[in-house]
Amino acid sequence: MSDINYSILIVGVGGQGVLLASEILSEVAMNFGLDVKKSEVHGMSQRGGIVSSHIKIADKVYSPTIRYGQADFLISFEQAEGLRAMDWMKKDGAAIVSTTKLIPAIVTSKKEYNYPLNAIETMKTKAEKIIAVKADTLAAELGNPRLVNTILMGVLSNFMVFPLELWLDVIRNRVKSKFVDINIEAFNKGREIKLSSVEV
């Protein structure tokens, strides 16, 4: 028996790689010897809609979805989506948010909708542990925008008990061989970002 009990919510927009990130995390937890369930809804959401993935990790997991207000970690691939999903977070939970902004066409074409001016600042007024990550910039520096998910997983790994090697093994298994090195580099870049190293 361990007393590990993690609820993680990963959110983003269709096509951003939310599902791969949640796969990696779930497999790490399983290989660590814990029970895992994860749940997401595919379908309409992939046409540019919101994608969310719930991951629950413990000795024994029942519900595959998280209760409102019970997520220990919120990982958001897009800043406004992070703000939208905050209701799922525990008050003392941590949010890891990419500064990415994806403004949908409906906001452009209809006056009544507005994209929040500063989603991350608003998040900081609601909870203490908000970690903003310039994941897009970091991914671009590494030469591949698709690395955002691995970078965010690297940041998350700092807050979890799973040993580094377990993460790297899963990445090696999950990623096409020619992308393994760059993904590990991206993961390590994320891992350099710690709560203490960012202003809160």
Binding site: G48, R67, G69, D87
Partner: protein, 593 residues
């Protein structure tokens, strides 16, 4: 060995371990991945996409009668389409085992209704299994085939989106060996003429009595005693939600859910002070338990609309007075957030069709597929969408009563046309309707992930297939006015539509541009906005392309000029065609100053 599998992957694994010989289906969220996984991972099973669920079902019945175990899968509404063979299949029973998977969609994440298909088990008197996680999904496929053969009946495995699309740890086993059966002539069992069917109905009733006994005895329906005065009767994913919220209560967990284990239920009710039924959607258990004369509570606390969740179950328990408080979220919902509805992709050929239909202001009877997104703001170019294949019949009826002064156009995708549009078109010809039908042929079943279909030239297992030619099919049905058009040519689409709307006979316009995502990604040279020329008229915003957004630059009235995200623009040209000042140009032709 353990693997992390979705419910759908677990069903596929279960089919493999059960030595299934044939799996057939028509795609439909949330069921699609079952057959995709079988085709990708278990090549020993012959797997195929059929044009619709009815045919898929009948193919499965043939395999079963022929001696091979058969798995047939579909989304909940698919069983409406397959209901005809399904209902009578209860009478014939099986030779080799037959399991049908119905994947229901509470909350309608990707569906047009949230019907509760558990009623289909009771309706047909077919036994039903309801898994509550991935491991059970796999195990229940194995159990399903055994039961099917022991009781000589098809078996319904009822999944829901949360079971199909959640992953959990599954214990993997070796493949077992299915029964060694061959086809034997037995018309009294398989030819349902009235004289035979009367005899078979008696067998159905006898069988259901045996199944009631089985339901009371099977460990699939089990009691978890924790010494609580509160007893919960539950099944499917609701079991997980309730266990999460109140592990301390006693549980009667239902895995074999039709017919219900009434004796076990009676014992359970008699040994508890309060018994609450927790089930998603309709009061399927509750009504039967009440009809048997027992006092239970349930729907008054949980409702019958939408998905349950741990939160909703907790709320229900609080209202029932069995828990004191519901731990509420601490942070609260952010108000006034913009919506992020699904939209047609950049470069989607359906966009050209809907731009033209919007411009003409005709009545548009719609259908189901990616193109249903033509209803969304700001295209707003679809007026009906009921079920797959309905567009053509709807248009015929609308046109017969002269419902629209500007004419009626039926819009239907290629996969949907094969599914159930062909018969509608036959009706149009036969009954001399002058409807205009647009078949949006993108050579894919795009909505559900790009599956093959009768005109894509490939089968599910990756073999080459003869392509069924849509224009020739229409002509063979007797449509004289059949024309292929380019949905990227806005003026052409408008001209052709106008011409066909005035024709005094049915006509079919087929758009032929392929889907830009599947099977391969299409990226031509992107377009860009010349901000010098852009007047901020917003014409390009109205075509609802995700590649186009407001730039920081404004015109003198402060209205934003447009900008194109070149990394996602496919170069379809539609925005350039509707730009009055011709400010949208090919990237290579933009004059840099």
């Amino acid at each position: 060995m353990k693997e992390l599998l979705s419910g759908n992957e677990a069903v596929a694994r279960g089919a493999f371990e059960s030595d299934v010989k044939l799996a057939s289906a028509y795609p439909g969220t949330p069921s699609t991945e079952i057959l995709e996984t079988i085709a990708a991972k278990f090549p020993s099973i012959y797997a195929q996409w059929s044009p619709n669920e009815k045919v898929a079902y009948e193919v499965g019945v043939g395999a079963s009668i022929g001696g091979g175990r058969a798995l047939v899968t579909m989304k909940h509404v698919g069983l409406n389409v397959a209901a005809d063979p399904y209902m009578t299949h209860a009478y014939t029973g099986v030779n080799a085992g037959f399991v049908i998977v119905s994947a229901d969609d509470p909350e309608m994440h990707s569906s047009q209704n949230e019907q509760d298909n558990r009623f289909f088990a009771k309706f047909a008197k077919i036994p039903m299994l309801e898994p509550s996680d991935s491991n059970e999904s796999k195990e229940m496929v194995l159990t399903g085939f055994e039961l099917s053969e022991v009781f000589d009946t098809p078996v319904l495995l009822r999944m829901t989106t949360r079971i199909s699309h959640s992953k959990g740890i599954v214990e993997i086993s070796e493949q077992t060996t299915g029964p060694d059966r061959k086809f034997v002539k037995e018309p009294s069992k398989y030819v349902m003429v009235p004289s035979n069917a009367r005899g078979r109905h008696v067998i159905v009733e006898e069988r259901i009595e045996k199944l009631k006994k089985f339901s009371d005895e099977t460990p699939l329906n089990f009691i978890e005693n924790n010494g609580s005065k509160v007893g919960i009767i539950t099944g499917g994913v609701s079991y997980q939600y309730a266990k999460e919220v109140t592990p301390e209560f006693d549980y009667l967990k239902i895995g074999f859910s039709y017919p219900l284990p009434m004796k076990k239920i009676e014992e359970f009710i008699n040994s508890h002070d309060i018994v609450i039924v927790v089930e998603e959607l309709e009061p399927f258990y509750e009504d039967q338990i009440k009809a048997a004369g027992f006092k239970v509570k349930g729907k008054e606390y949980f409702g019958n609309i939408g998905e349950l969740s741990p939160y909703r179950v907790a709320e229900g328990f609080k209202n029932a007075g069995v828990i004191d408080e519901v731990k509420l979220a601490g942070i609260g919902v952010e108000k006034d957030m913009f919506p992020r509805p699904p939209v047609l992709c950049p470069g989607c050929p359906h966009r050209g069709a809907f731009m033209a239909l919007k411009k003409l202001g005709v009545a548009v009877t719609g259908d189901i597929g990616c193109y249903t997104l033509g209803v969304m703001e700001p295209l707003n170019a679809m007026d009906t969408c009921i079920c797959m294949g309905a567009s053509i019949g709807n248009a015929i009826g609308m046109e017969k009563v002269k419902g629209s002064d500007k004419g009626t156009v039926a819009v239907i995708g290629d996969s949907t046309f094969f599914h159930s549009g062909v018969t509608g078109l036959m009706d149009a010809v036969y009954n001399q309707s002058n409807v205009t039908v647009m078949v949006l042929d993108n050579s894919a079943t795009a909505m559900t992930g790009g599956q093959q279909h009768p005109s894509t030239g490939k089968t599910l297992m990756g073999n080459d297939a003869r392509k069924i030619d849509i224009p020739n099919l229409c002509k063979a049905l007797g449509v004289k006015r059949v024309k292929e058009i380019d949905a990227y040519d806005y003026d052409e689409v408008i001209t052709c539509l106008k011409e066909e709307l005035t024709a005094e006979e049915p006509s079919v316009l087929i758009t032929t541009r392929p889907c830009v995502l599947m099977p391969k990604r299409i990226m031509d040279e992107p377009y860009t906005v010349d901000l010098e020329l852009c007047t901020a008229c917003s014409a390009c915003f109205k075509i609802s392309c995700p590649a186009i957004s407001a730039s920081e630059e404004t015109n003198k009235h402060g209205r934003p000029k447009a900008i194109i995200d070149e990394s996602v623009c496919t170069g379809c040209t539609l925005c350039a065609q509707v730009c009055p000042p011709e400010a949208i140009v090919l990237k290579s032709q933009k004059v840099e100053v």
